[in-house]
């Protein structure tokens, strides 16, 4: 009987998602034979012009997540350190740089890029990381510089970023030796926006009690809105996923057996410990219902105008979660706590991701004061397991849950 119940809890769309991702990577791996070009792009970069140009976008960061999930991060990070890179460097960067050399990891390395697109709206590390890869692969690199919007999106920033969108298009025309198709761009733009709206809808389903899925599932389902944003594939898949979630809500199928406490997660996942962490919290009847990470791919929807796509993405890509001031980040967190009715906030202080982890102490204080819920900070790393101390994290998370339970009683 318990097995039957566990089977019922499994999200059926997961298999389809795996198939889509396999096809996506196969297409990329065979791009050269099919006379297609491949661009590597940072996770927060504007991918839509690539899709409009029929260039296959590849995300080293998504690959980094795959490396972490398959627990192959340590070897690749060590390899990068052998090459002379510091252990303080981001583990996505280390894994990607060494993987290019040894062709390791779960899929034997990424397909060779024809060009690199680097947008620094997520961090500054990507600048040097992509320069290194541009030298390694001897391919052109385009850098899109998005100044941090501490308080507002000033006219100067708007002008500066918008001008670079045109340079970006000129760069693509130069590398592909083809004209940019603005009609196709408008079409892709509409699909990209629709995809993001659907992704937001997927995430919103977890506001239901009990939650039909958890943030751990969102970490997985996120891959499509990252890699296939602007395509019909992502739209069709998320429609199906929403249907499945709505059906689960109707039938009362929750992702964890006895959801009693609802938690919000901050920062990237600890990829190699997803299941362990999920079980740890589930043992306390706690479900991580939402997170600041996966919602970053729909947090700037309000700035997108599908009828004026290129102008509006300049603002949308500049004002993403990691490129705004701490006060604004805290406001978003507070909104999420309210929307998802969270009983606690779990912050992953991520050794690798400095821009995400910087400011966490302030956000922690703000959340404690304004939302009056317990906050837990755990120190770890998204890919490098050498920064994960199991017994320390176990003690902290158990104590955190004890505090939440005491408050509830």
């Amino acid at each position: 009987m318990p097995n039957k119940l566990a089977e019922k809890r499994k999200i059926k769309s997961a298999q389809k998602m795996r198939d889509i991702m396999t096809t996506y990577y196969l297409d990329a791996m065979t791009a050269e034979q099919n006379h297609k070009q491949v661009a590597w792009i940072t996770s927060g970069g504007p991918v839509e012009p690539l899709v409009a140009m029929d260039i296959i976008p590849i995300y080293p960061e998504n690959h980094g997540a795959m490396i972490g999930s398959s627990k192959m991060g340590e070897d690749l990070c060590v390899k990068a350190e052998d090459m002379g890179y510091s252990s303080d460097l981001c583990s996505y960067a280390r894994a990607d740089i060494s993987c290019s050399v040894v062709k390791g990891g779960p899929i034997g390395g990424l397909p060779k890029p024809d060009m690199l697109i680097c947008c620094n709206n997520i961090c500054g590390t990507v600048l040097k990381w992509y320069e290194i890869q541009a030298r390694f692969y001897h391919v052109p690199l385009f850098i899109l510089d998005t100044p941090i919007c501490h308080t507002e999106y000033s006219p100067e920033i708007a002008k500066y970023v918008r001008a670079q969108i045109d340079e970006y298009i000129a760069f693509l025309e130069m590398v592909t030796q083809r004209k940019f198709d603005y009609d196709k761009m408008a079409q892709v733009g509409r699909l990209a926006l629709e995809g993001q709206l659907l992704w937001q809808k997927v995430l919103n389903t977890t506001a239901h009690k009990p939650s039909p899925m958890s943030a751990f599932d969102a970490f997985f389902f996120l891959a499509l809105i990252v890699t296939l944003r602007g395509t019909q594939i992502a739209i069709d898949f998320y429609k199906e996923l929403i249907e499945e979630m709505e059906q689960r809500i109707k039938e009362g199928i929750s992702i964890i057996p006895n959801e009693k406490y609802r938690l919000l997660w901050d920062n990237l996942p600890v990829w190699y410990r997803l299941k362990w962490l999920s079980n740890k919290f589930a043992d306390h009847n706690a479900c991580l219902v939402a997170d600041t990470y996966t919602s970053a791919w729909c947090s700037a929807i309000k700035y997108i105008d599908e009828n004026n796509f290129l102008d509006s993405i300049a603002e949308a890509y500049t004002r993403i979660y990691l490129n705004i001031g701490v006060d604004q980040m805290a406001d978003q967190v507070l909104d999420m706590i309210k929307y998802y009715d969270a009983d606690g906030f779990v912050m992953h202080s991520n050794r690798s991701c400095k821009p995400y982890s910087f400011g966490q102490m302030d956000i922690m204080e703000i959340v404690r004061e304004k939302a009056d819920i317990p906050v837990l900070m755990i120190e770890a790393d998204m890919v490098d397991p050498r920064n994960f101390s199991q017994s320390q994290i176990e003690t902290r998370s158990n104590a955190f849950m004890e505090i939440i339970k005491q408050r509830g009683s």
């Binding site: 317990p374 920064n387 004890e402 505090i403």
Partner: protein, 255 residues
């Protein structure tokens, strides 16, 4: 009704029995390599010591790093909740606890009912813990218990700049070689450890009255260094080392 708490720490195992808001007795042994045996031994020795039979004990809670290895406990709780509860039981009305144990140091903020509101713990690094002091005592050939008294004779505490325990030991060894006075080195060690621990206290804005618990609370030099650093008085109650076990026993009485 009698209740028991067992705290299996990284260095020592502690057991405590309470009855009607009174500590009946406590016992401390070295944990050694086998935490399961340590749990049984510390508990049984205590029962013998206070002449109480197992059947008289109504409930047991285990805590500490080896908490899961006490298989005869009714429940497992983390040392954070246990230390908060224990300290409040010994000295009601306190609002903060600084606990420095073998490999952990933590600051705990309590509400007016003695419930844990927030905590901060060291992570990834054992500097500022009991193990740090133990390593230094070994390097200086001083009994761990003597560190406090000796440090009060210092006239000019040395400055230890390394945060890492291993590097700090090398630094201490070079100070010894440089003929620095032992009392000054020890006072410097306390100041260095206190600097690490006080960060945890300020991180969660610890409020007075504050109690210090854990084996290191028995070191008066360390308490004084912390008081100096934090700028407020730190109370050391009875049974600082067994505080986690006492807290576990108190929580057992609420099961």
């Amino acid at each position: 009704m009698i209740y028991a708490g067992i705290d299996i720490g990284s260095i020592t195992a502690k057991a405590a029995l309470i009855r009607e808001n009174q500590v009946l007795g406590t016992h401390v042994i070295l944990t050694g390599y086998n935490p399961i045996n340590a749990g049984i031994k510390v508990y049984e020795t205590l029962l013998e010591k206070v002449k109480i039979s197992k059947t008289d004990v109504k409930a047991i809670i285990s805590t500490g790093y080896g908490r899961a290895s006490v298989n005869f406990a009714d429940k497992v709780m983390t040392e954070i909740i246990c230390h908060g509860t224990g300290a409040y039981f010994i000295i009601p009305g306190i609002l903060g606890v600084i606990d420095v144990g073998g490999q952990d140091s933590k600051a705990i903020l309590l509400d007016t009912n003695g419930q844990v509101e927030n905590f901060a713990m060291n992570d990834k690094c054992a500097a500022g813990t009991g193990r740090f002091l133990e390593v230094m005592a070994n390097a200086l050939e001083v009994d761990l218990d003597q560190l406090g008294d000796i440090s009060f004779k210092a006239d000019n505490p040395t400055k230890i700049s390394s945060i890492c325990t291993v590097f700090a030991e090398s630094e201490v060894i070079s100070m010894i070689a440089g003929q620095q006075k032992r009392e000054n080195i020890i006072a410097g060690i306390h100041e260095s450890a206190a600097a690490r621990v006080s960060i945890l206290a300020t991180k969660i804005k610890l409020k007075e009255p504050v109690v210090m618990t854990g084996g290191v609370a028995k070191n008066k030099g360390m308490v004084a260094a912390l008081e100096k650093r934090l700028g407020f008085k730190i109370i050391v109650g009875d049974f600082p080392q067994e505080n986690g076990a006492i807290g576990a026993a108190v929580l057992a009485s609420r099961l």
